[in-house]
Structures are given as C-alpha cells and as structure tokens.
C-alpha cells in the first residue's frame, strides 16, 4: 500500500517535472489538442456547422479538436465568456453564430466584435412564408389587408436575436403592422404557422425547407438585398422589391463560424486562417452547405471583421430601437 502510494507520488512528480520542462521551449502551434466551445445545444445550426468546420480543421492542423457544448445564459453568453476567460493562446476557440453579437447589449458582458477575430463560414437566408390555407397568400394582398385593418394578419417568430429582428422589420420599418406571435424557437414558430395558429412566419430557409417543398408554407420574400434561387422551390424575390425602405437595415444575415479573442498571437491566427481556408475549399463542406441550404461566405481577416461589425451594428440597433435590449449599443461603443 505504502509502496503504491510512493510510486504514485513519484509518477506525479515526474509528470509535472516533464510538463514544466516542455513549457519553457516555445513549441510550434498547435502542439496539443484544441478545445472548441459551442455556446448552444447539440444539433442546432451553430453546433452542426461548428463540428463540420472543426472536423476539417483538425485534419489540417494535425491535432484533435474537442468540441463541447456549454449552454446557458443569454444569447450564448455562458459559453462565450468561458472562451474569453480561458488563456488567449489559440487552444480554446468559440464556435459562433450571429446571435452572440447581441451579448454586449443583452448582458453585462462588455466585449464587442472589436474584441474578437472572426472566421465566417456560411449562413442560410431568412424567408417570409405564409400558410397555404391563409386568406391572403401574396405579398401585395397581405400588405393591402394590413393597411386596411392593422393586426388582422399574424406573424410567428422567436424572441430576441436575428429572426426576431427580421420579423419585426415589417412592423417597425415596413408599415406592415402584423399581429406578433412569439414562439420558443424557430421549430415551434414554424409549427405555429403550419397549424395555422399564425398566418405568416420568418425563419431560415434551411429549417423551413421541408415545409416549402411540401407546399404547406408558401415563400413570399427573402430577407436579402437580392432575390434568391431556392433549389427545387424556385426564385424567391427580395423583400426590398416590395419594401424598398428596408434596404438600409439589410444585410441582416445569419452567419456560422468561429472566433478567437483579438489579442491572440498573430502567428497562431495565421495558422488558424490557413486551416480554415483549406477546410472551406474542401468538397465535404460544399456538400454539407448544399444539404443545409446555406450560402458559403468564407470570410476571414479584415473582411470578416467588417462583416461582423456591420451586422452587430444593424442587429443591436434594431433590437435597441424595439426596446428589447438591456443596455444601449452606445454604452458599448457600437456605432449606428
């Protein structure tokens, strides 16, 4: 017993000794496995994209990338702050979507897009849809009816984040006073529209594809500046064709990818960028994006930063104007 304990002590000492030794030598990044934290639940968009990207990057970098879900907080703040509080050494990455961009205005956490370096992979466009059995099934009819009788047509959506901002654009800036019906998550909102509790719904094309293909929901407009061709469904006109005044609030795009703290060693960032680019160029990702009905953005460096800052500004200010934020974007240094 005593002998065993002694052996254990010795082994531990030996191991820690070795550990100390290697740390002194500056090793080539990455020298050990990397952690990637998904701030949302398993199976969601951020999770499946995060895992797909990390899978490719692990091969490129030649180390394991361990993806774990750290959920909780508001807009994914628990997982994101876990990454921020870890050493900024490139061994803890944060898988992200556009939703964590609202953390500075929703929570007491103050880091904005300036404090992060973004690697943006792809996103699925938002689509305004109407139930096939609804009384009014074209954009023009719906606009006319809402003008005649405000709140006579309802729209389903989720609370907070991107899809909320998109659905609320019609009401706030588009002169289309829908009756607003919030649901817990896009899946529930789609169910609300399919069961015709709500007439219309705004959700990502990826999540709604089955309903559009089965004909239960008719796509009316895509929340992009340009029209979008949806495979097997056809062309969906841009929302700006009906409501040109919404152009100034777009793009309001979903994006999926990952980020690291901005003060990470530039050499490490360069390595990550290289691995990310190689992953995005792979055939596997192309197939994956097609399945998910996503458009590949493949943005890094300055481009990605510009994109994230622009979206952060649009999203935070729209939410703030609607009165759903806890802190003003001004307070956090987010310009309009």
């Amino acid at each position: 017993m005593k002998k065993g304990l002694f052996l254990l002590l010795l082994t531990t000492l030996a191991l820690t000794g070795c550990g100390g030794e290697t740390e002194k030598v500056k090793a080539e990044y990455p020298e050990r496995s990397i952690n990637a934290i998904v701030p949302f639940g398993a199976g969601g968009g951020t999770d499946v994209w995060g895992r797909a990207i990390m899978d490719g990057m692990a091969t490129e970098l030649g180390v394991n990338i361990i993806v774990s879900n750290v959920t909780g907080g508001s807009a994914g703040s628990t997982g994101i702050s876990r990454v921020w509080n870890a050493p900024h050494d490139g061994y803890t990455l944060a898988c992200t979507s556009e939703t964590p961009l609202t953390i500075p205005v929703m929570t007491a956490i103050t880091q904005t897009s300036n404090d992060w370096i973004y690697f943006i992979a792809a996103g699925s466009p938002g689509v305004l849809m109407v139930n096939k059995n609804a009384e009014y099934t074209t954009m023009d009819e719906i606009m006319a009816q809402l003008k005649k009788e405000p709140q006579s047509i309802s729209i389903a959506g989720t609370v907070g984040g991107l899809w909320f901002a998109q659905a609320k654009l019609f009401d706030t800036y588009g002169d289309m006073p829908f009756n607003w019906l919030p649901y817990d998550g896009s899946g529930a909102a789609l169910k609300g529209a399919v069961s015709q509790e709500a007439d219309c719904v705004v959700a990502s094309a990826g999540e709604a594809k089955d309903f559009m293909r089965s004909g239960d929901l008719i796509p009316l407009a895509v929340m992009e500046l340009e029209a979008w061709h949806m495979p097997t469904v056809g062309n969906i006109p841009s929302v700006t064709e009906y409501l040109p005044q919404l152009a100034e609030y777009l793009p309001l795009n979903q994006f999926l990818g990952f980020k690291v703290p901005a003060d990470t060693d530039p050499e490490i960032v360069a390595k990550l960028e290289e691995a990310f680019q190689a992953t995005m160029d792979s055939y596997a990702i192309e197939i994956f994006a097609n399945e998910q009905l996503a458009t590949i953005y493949n943005l890094t460096g300055e481009e990605a930063k510009k994109y994230a800052t622009q979206l952060e500004s649009n999203l935070c200010w729209i939410l703030s104007d609607m009165g759903t934020t806890t802190f003003s974007p001004d307070e956090r240094g987010i310009s309009r």
């Binding site: 199976g43 909780g72 628990t78 702050s81 709140q151 609370v159 907070g160 909320f164 009756n179 019906l181």
Partner: protein
C-alpha cells in the same frame, strides 16, 4: 401497415451486437438500481442522462430505456425479499410478495412477478407502437389554448394523485415547480425574470441538474440522517417445494392481467402520474374484483401479479404523451424528456416529421428491453440477496459522486452543480414535510408551456379569454380540470368532517 413495417425496420437497425449488449447491461443495472432501496428508476435515469451525454445517441437511449424497464421491475425483488420496496412502484407488491417469501415461496414469488412484469411491459410496448403515431397526428391540431389547458391539467392531476397525504400539498408542490420554471428569460418578450442579477440564471434552471437534485441528493442526505438497522434478508429459494407453473399462473389470470394492464396504460398516460400510482390502483382493483379477496395481504399470487403488470405497462403508457405532446406521463418519463431535449430530439406533434422513426425506435428498444429483462431477472434472482446486503455506507458516496458528475457533464457548467445541490437540500426538506417531488418536477417542466401558451393564446385572440372555452379540445380539458378540483375539494372536506365527528 407502414407502422408495422417501420417497427420491423427499427428492430433490424437495433440488431447490432454492441447496442444489444449495452441494452442488456443497462437492464441488468436497472434491476439492481430498482432493487436497492434508496435508488429509484427516476434517479437512475437522471444520473445516467448526465453521464451518457457524450455517447452516440443510439447507445444513450438503449441505456436509458434499459434502466427504466429494469428498475421498475427490480423494485419487486427487494419488496419480496426485504419487505422494503426498492422503488415506490413496488410498494403494493411488498404486501403480497413478502408474506409469500415468509411462507417459503420466495423463488415462486420472484418468478411470477418477473413474468407479470414482462407481460405488462410488452402490453405497454404494443400500445405505444399502435397509439402514439396516430395520436401525434391529432396532436398537430393542438394550438396554444389546448397546450395551456393540457399542461395545467397535468400539474393539477399529478398534484392531486401523487401526494402522500392531502391533495393540497401536491398542488402546492406544483405551484413551487411553476415558480421555479419562471426563472430566466421568458419566451414571449425575452425579459429576464427572477435572475437576481446572476447571468447564470438568465437561461433558466437546467432541467436535468434540478431533477438529479430532487431525486438523488435527498436519498444521500437521508442515509446520513438515519441510523442503519439490521434487516433480515430472505434468500431467493423456495423452502416449500410446490410445483407452481409460472407462466401458467400468469396466463390463468388473463382477465386480471388485461385489467391491470389497461389500468397501467391509462394511469401511465396521465401527465406526471406514474408507475407507483398505477401499481396501487392495479392492486386495489385486483382485490375488489378477485374471487378470493380474503387471501390478499397473506401472500396471494394474484395480488403480486396485478401491481407488477400495472407498473410495467405504465412505462409504455407514460411514453405516449411524452413523445407526442412533450408532456411526460411519469417522473422517469419527465427525466427522459429532458434527456431527449438535450440530445436535440424534439418530442411533440412534429416528431413524426422531424424524427419519423423515433417512436418506433423507442418501441423497439422497449421490446428488446423486455427480453433483456427476462434474462437479467433470471441471472440476478440468486445473487440478489447478496447485492441487497451492500450497506448504504458504500452506496451513497457513489450516488453523490455520480450526482455531481452527472449534473456537471451536460453543459460542462459548474453552476449546474450548485443547482443540483440547492435543489437537493430543498428536496430533502420538502420530503421531510411529506411533499412529493413529482408535482414539483412536473411544474418545472410544464411551467414554460403554461406561461407561454396562455399568453400567446391571448395574443392570438387579441385579449379575448373566450378562446379557451370555444375550441372543443380546450373546453374538454377545462371541464376535466373543474371536475378534478371539485372532486378533491369535496373529498377533502368530507375527510375533515369525519375527523371533526370522531373528535
């Protein structure tokens, strides 16, 4: 027809030696968990949900379903050998099983209850596979007012039936659960409620850590609080040699089996009312309809069969509303619901679209668990009297470690450990005051459903409350809710009158 083909397809998919081995070991473990007093089916599933979070999903549910089926049966073993029901659902079995053991017929009693459990689970599986898919289609007609009424009905009925003394305590428990459910961001306006400035509380109380707290930690505290006394453990061997045909005995009582199974299915499918109530009602009905009611309480095989058929068929019954409406039919099913959600299977009316094969998959797993139970039961019958000798001194430290690891593992969040501990202490105190945890947990699960659907229904009707009474399904639930409240109030006022008279 497609249903049968689908079910068969799932059997073929499950014919993977690794999955079968996992399912078998889980059932074996479940029987042991069920048999050990202090470890319940709900606790076992709650702990394993946390521990198996990283496993591939096909293994996770093989483990959870195996433990569920095994634990509901396992309770009867200690009920017979120890006269202490290993789980609450075996309490009725103890009334007949232990006298049988004292008469020297322990082995026969164990074999007969095993056969009854197998038959009961099997009937539950058949009901699940045939009723759930069409019910999911009906459930698509459920909109906000229907969901609100159903969830409210669930909390009320669970509160009035599961309670240990008066229904009011069950309802108080339900309200405590509803209050806990209000913590965090609401789903209608996105406003943060009762977060006390803690960022961790903004996402709400995590379900599985809370359930580990309510079901596992109070048992650990109880074990420390109570002095252990020596219990006499019988051996699973017949002293009296009598040739009683096991399956013959079960099938001779076919009317009793069918009656108990229907009771189990019905009670199992009521929200939050689970295997333990099913067993009592099944036992009670058996006594009332038996040709030999005088034998009950002295070691009647009929009396041992009825509760075991009922509690095991309640498993299938409890899964039906859990899968089709996201309203769990029993406390273990409530934990399973939490497990499904963290594995991103969304139970509810959309399950047939999102995961078309999932109901059949669960039915197939349950069916295979029946077979595993058969073998596990035979293997464990003899060594069980040894296993039951393991003192709680060794058992409870293991449970406490598993509780902490399980609570942490789901989202790697240390705050969840605090949640499990806080709810553990709360659960212990409430248990001391004879509050059952079931309505509290159901309140936590159904709280957001009640809150969100109530408010959304009023948004649909633009503030007109008549929306709750003008749609048929919603009106139907409203009438049942009124009847439940009225019945309980009148019976408790009668009770208090009786007490007054006797004084």
């Amino acid at each position: 027809m497609t249903g049968i083909v689908g079910l068969f397809q799932e059997f073929v998919n499950l014919m993977d030696p690794a999955i079968l081995l996992v399912l078998f070991s889980a059932t074996l473990l479940g029987v042991i968990i069920g048999a050990l007093p202090g470890l319940s089916a709900t606790m076992g599933i709650a702990l394993l949900t946390g521990l198996t979070y990283k496993f591939p999903i096909e293994y996770t549910f093989a483990i959870l379903m195996g433990v569920y089926v095994g634990a509901i049966y396992g309770g009867s073993m200690s009920a017979i050998l120890l006269n202490i029901p290993g789980t609450a659902s075996a309490a009725a079995t103890a009334l007949e099983g232990n006298p049988l053991a004292k008469k020297g017929m322990a082995e026969t009693a164990i074999k007969v209850t095993r056969a009854a459990s197998i038959v009961g689970t099997f009937i539950g599986v058949v009901a699940l596979a045939t009723i759930a898919p069409p019910l999911a289609k009906v459930a698509l007609m459920f909109t906000s007012p229907e969901y609100f009424m159903l969830a409210l009905f669930g909390v009320l009925i669970c509160g009035s039936i599961v309670t240990m003394d008066i229904p009011l305590k069950g309802w108080i428990g339900g309200v405590i659960g509803l209050l806990i459910a209000m913590i965090g961001m609401d789903k209608i306006d996105g406003a943060s409620r009762f977060d006390f400035g803690l960022v961790e509380l903004m996402g709400g109380i995590s379900m599985v850590p809370a359930m580990i707290g309510f079901y596992a930690i109070p048992e650990v505290i109880k074990a420390f609080a109570k002095s252990s006394d020596d219990i006499e453990i019988g051996k699973a061997k017949d002293v009296v040699k009598q040739n009683i045909p096991i399956w013959g005995t079960v099938f001779k009582n076919i009317r009793l089996v069918v009656q108990s199974a229907l009771i189990g299915l019905g009670i199992g499918s009521l929200p939050g009312v689970g295997e333990d109530v099913a067993a009592w009602v099944g036992y009670d009905a058996a006594k009332k309809t038996s040709k030999h009611p005088e034998k009950f309480g002295t070691g009647s095989l009929e009396g041992a069969i009825a509760p075991e058929v009922s509690n095991n068929s309640a498993i299938g019954g409890a899964m039906i509303p859990m899968l089709t409406l996201a309203v769990p039919g029993s406390p273990p099913a409530a934990v399973l619901l939490g497990a499904l959600m963290i594995h991103n299977v969304r139970p509810g009316p959309m399950i047939m679209r999102d995961n078309p094969g999932f109901i059949n998959y669960i039915a197939a797993l349950l069916f295979l668990a029946v077979l595993a139970l058969w073998i596990a039961g035979i293997l464990l019958a003899k060594p069980m009297s040894m296993i039951l000798k393991v003192p709680t001194v060794y058992l409870m430290p293991i449970v406490s470690v598993l509780s902490i690891v399980g609570a942490f593992a789901i989202s790697n969040n240390p705050f969840d450990i605090i949640i499990a501990l806080v709810f553990g202490v709360l659960g212990y105190l409430l248990d001391k005051m004879k509050y059952s945890p079931a309505p509290i947990v159901l309140g936590i699960i159904l709280g957001p459903m009640i809150d969100e659907n109530f408010r959304r229904a009023l948004m649909v009707s633009k503030g007109d409350p008549s929306i709750f009474f003008t749609q048929p399904i919603s009106l139907f639930f409203f009438v049942i809710i009124c009847l439940t409240i009225f019945k309980n109030l009148s019976s408790s006022s009668k009770k208090s009158k009786k007490i007054n008279l006797s004084e």
